[in-house]
Symmetry: C2
Subunit: 231 residues, 2 copies
DNA sequence: TGCTAAATTTCGCCG
DNA sequence: CGGCGAAGTTTAGCA
């Protein structure tokens, strides 16, 4: 990600035409080439933007533009739609680059995060003698929703979903493969827990020795009594 | 605006509950206290955010959090809705502040910016002998949409709107008052041009000696033939 | 992959 | 200021 604070004016031509007069703004260039133009107010919506897939090209300002004070021209063009965003930069106050990596992404929820908390508290739902190690157990490829131990003390990795789909099984499989290479954890077994598990996902999971557990959200919330919160 | 690049995890509790696992992200704190959390991909929508009006408070992590690697805690709370966003910062890579000032705002348009270009090209629509001086003529209180000269060489300030309302007349009035104090420009007359002019706006404009001109977008575009673009 | 409907929607217009 | 509807909508779920 590249962050630029600059005096700039902006023209957009695409599904509509729009213009931003000269002012100091934040230009956020994401790794995929997409651009967001933010002011110091308003909501989360940028003043203007270009969605991926798109490419940013830096052009030389022509003489007329240079006379007008333009020192750099950015042309951001969309691959398919031919939308174009032109940033006329007059003055750069700040310019920095940062490696952010791929984001693990939002665990959104009217349910899922809560479900995770509930299952952590009611870990015995997975079986007699189960105990919680921790939620969001970090691995090199991302956090495992819940790490637990079964009655015999063996590690159990739990993948939690509201709707249990193939993707979730694949995800858990990757975690298990990685964790079973760690002698301190191995052997690690897997539990795929969800409110609803698609037949395909169940078949795949059981074929890989992953146990499927259906969770009753209302019942779990009933026990929890709803008094507790995330904080 | 404050820009922070940090390793952080984020919890949101409000209209829903959501969690962002630990990862490197951009935290954008706007002047109104609102917060945007961006990753290096996706669209213009942040991973998470808090809309204004809200306040950001920095808290000390407790012992358990400190052990988990949290060096700073941000609590962003919404004034009315009691929504809360908690940013657990593990590591700050970058932290900078920037004064951006108030943004003049987007001149959006399926029409207006295009209309401005078209009228600039077809300035004779305002009357015999009219000539364009320039679009976006800058004044101390903002840019006048179009500055032109009439057949006699007198300055004409044009305010352009899609829907001509009282506000537009007031705006043009302010420009006219300012410009008429400039001996190089004065006397400056005003033209209020729009696709549609509200009766109240027309009355006010004509009362102030401002001429109203109705623009036919399709007709103007027809003459322009659609071959030209903003660039 | 294409559609359908919700969104922590945001934004603008109209009363 | 509240309601209604569109958005360069975006996003998520489902066939």
């Amino acid at each position: 990600m590249r962050l630029v604070i600059a005096n700039c004016s902006i023209d957009y031509a695409g599904r509509l035409s729009a213009h931003l007069p000269l002012a100091r703004r934040l230009l956020m260039v994401k790794n995929d080439g997409s651009l967001l133009v933010h002011s110091d107010g308003g909501s989360y919506k940028p003043l203007n933007w270009m969605s991926p897939p798109c490419t940013l090209a830096v052009a030389e300002p022509d003489e007329r533009q240079r006379e007008a004070g333009v020192v750099e021209l950015w042309k951001v063009t969309h691959q398919k739609t031919a939308d174009m965003l032109i940033v006329s930069i007059h003055d750069i106050e700040h310019d920095s680059r940062h490696e952010l990596g791929v984001d693990p992404g939002l665990q959104k929820d009217g349910v899922e995060a809560h479900l995770q908390k509930l299952l952590a508290e009611q870990i015995e739902r997975l079986g007699e003698g189960y105990s919680l190690v921790r939620r969001e157990y970090m691995t090199a490829i991302g956090p495992v929703d819940i790490l637990a131990r079964d009655g015999s003390g063996a590690s159990v990795a739990v993948e939690l979903k509201r709707r249990g789909d193939i993707d979730g099984v694949e995800q858990l499989t990757r975690y298990l493969e990685l964790m079973n290479r760690d002698p301190l954890l191995a052997p690690v077994t897997g539990v795929f827990a969800a409110q609803e598990i698609k037949p395909q996902a169940r078949t795949l999971a059981e074929d890989r020795g992953i146990r499927c557990v259906l969770l009753d959200y209302d019942e779990m919330r009933g026990i929890d009594d709803g008094h507790s919160r995330l904080f």
